[in-house]
């Protein structure tokens, strides 16, 4: 197991991503944030929290989306997925949506997420923010707009993002 980001590096990376979002979205008056269940929400929680601190008084709509019912492997996958909660209690019509997930790998999850998202309305634009971009392993033409760290890992390796809230510590590791 190899460490890719320590807890301190992870905090700095999330801080940088938050600033990059402000650079592009300024006052967030027309922007909403949507975190992907199940593991993307830890990153989106942190970013949402950061943005609230950096932009006091701004009320950014923040939701969570689960893609289980939109997967393309319902029948072909190894086993059935149990769905997680979706919670989007605002309109995304004509909004700029920032979609947040922890690791971008084949791109299939993001494809499903975009299908799920579009069932809630017609956003003016959708952007993708990921903590880890495993480039060279894409199966669909999907690229992130904001990236924490780009890594080259082979298929047999696994990237895992650990979160204090759920795993007891903040760290990104590569498991061979």
């Amino acid at each position: 197991m190899k460490s890719i980001l320590t807890d301190r590096q992870l905090a700095i990376t999330i801080e940088r991503l938050s600033h990059q979002l402000i650079e592009n979205h300024l006052d967030f008056s027309n922007t909403v944030i949507v975190g992907l269940q199940p593991r993307g929400i830890y990153l989106s929680d942190r970013i949402y929290h950061n943005l609230q601190q950096l932009l006091p008084g701004t009320d950014i709509p923040y939701g969570k989306i689960d893609i289980t019912f939109y997967r393309d492997d319902y029948k072909s996958g190894k086993s059935l997925h149990v769905p997680n909660e979706t919670d989007i209690d605002f309109s995304i019509d004509n909004k700029r949506v920032i979609l947040i997930d922890d690791v971008l790998y084949t791109g299939r999850t993001i494809r499903s997420a975009m299908d799920a998202l579009l069932d809630f309305g017609r956003p003016s634009r959708v952007e993708l923010l990921v903590l880890i971009d495993r480039r060279f392993s894409r199966e669909l033409p999907i690229q992130p707009d904001y990236t924490g760290r780009t890594i080259d890992a082979i298929i047999t390796e696994r990237v895992k993002v650990l979160w204090k809230e759920r795993d007891g510590k903040d760290e990104v590791v590569l498991i061979a």
Binding site: R39, D119, F120
Partner: protein, 311 residues
């Protein structure tokens, strides 16, 4: 995290065959489908490559519409079959009928039949998942699931709750499925009705309390699930008249107002207003009858989702 789980059964023939974990998995999945049904677009593409046939050998309003909506909102293709107007009247057998439908590449069967055990029999002869939508006087599993789901939603849980099932216990598949489901989830159950409509030995066989006094039973209960008198299944007189039944066992405003607390009123439908349930109770704030109907779609979506992979 992404839990990977599946039901312990291949078909949903009865609650009798399910484990408590199965029921909880169905509820957990139904919670998410309930959210889907609140969206601007109340439809997901999950079963888009699945064709489901609804085979109804017996009349139905709610169950049939509810299954069809559940199937369509999961993106499945739906075919409907009613025995009336079909070749069943020309003498075609159940297995032949269903096999002919399946040879047209159908992936799942939802079946209602007036004969007890019809879906169990069918399950031994075909290899696609079957969902029992009511068989004779045996079981109506999805009704029990949506009833328990509605209790869980209204009271925050089912464990330890006291449920009175009132009326024609003898001929009701809803009663039997409800008893299995509620007991598996840790609820206490009392069946109440005239002695002629309550099977002998039910207390020992199914571990429920038996009462012949509606007031006593409702005084004890948190929830009353009031059943319809199944006149179509009774072939001899089991009580003197509907009027007398209503006087002795009907749930009305006066009876509810005389209880020490407000209880939740449920009914699986169709209601015979003024017989087992009065209109001022059925339409009151204590009644969750229409919530039951609403929850039926989400619960059936969960069952179809969990069985549709045909594992």
């Amino acid at each position: 995290m992404h839990l990977r789980m599946s039901l312990s059964v291949k078909h949903l023939l009865g609650i009798r065959d399910l484990t408590r974990q199965d029921i909880e998995l169905i509820f957990q999945t139904a919670d998410q489908f309930k959210e889907v049904l609140q969206r601007p677009i109340k439809k997901v593409p999950t079963l888009r490559d699945t064709t489901i046939v609804n085979v109804f050998f017996e009349n139905s309003t709610r169950t049939r519409i509810s299954f069809e909506l559940a199937e369509k909102r999961l993106g499945a293709d739906v075919v409907n079959f009613s025995a009336s107007g079909s070749s069943v009247s020309k003498g075609e057998t159940l297995i032949d009928t269903v096999n002919n439908i399946l040879s047209m590449k159908v992936d799942m069967v939802v079946m209602r039949h007036s004969a007890t055990g019809a879906p169990h029999f069918l399950s031994k002869h075909i290899n696609v998942p079957i969902v029992n939508a009511g068989d004779g006087i045996n079981e109506h599993p999805t009704q029990a699931l949506l009833d328990a789901f509605s209790i869980r939603e209204k009271l925050g849980g089912v464990e330890g709750k006291k449920i009175a099932i009132c009326g024609d216990i003898m001929h009701s598949r809803v009663a039997l499925s409800n008893i299995y489901c509620l007991k598996k989830l840790g609820a206490e159950v009392t069946v109440v009705g005239p002695p002629t409509l309550i099977p002998k030995h039910i207390a020992q066989a199914l571990d429920v309390n038996v009462s012949y006094n509606i007031r006593e039973a409702l005084e004890w209960a948190d929830v009353a699930n009031v059943l319809r008198i199944q006149l179509e299944r009774q072939n001899m007189p089991l009580f003197s008249s509907l009027r007398e039944y209503s006087l002795a066992y009907g749930v009305n405003r006066k009876l509810l107002d005389s209880l020490k607390k407000d209880i939740v009123i449920m009914h699986p439908g169709p209601i015979n207003r003024g017989v087992e349930l009065s209109s001022d109770v059925a339409d009151s704030g204590q009644s969750i009858i229409l919530d039951q109907v609403e929850n039926g779609v989400a619960t059936r979506m969960a069952v179809l989702y969990l069985l549709g992979r045909n594992e």
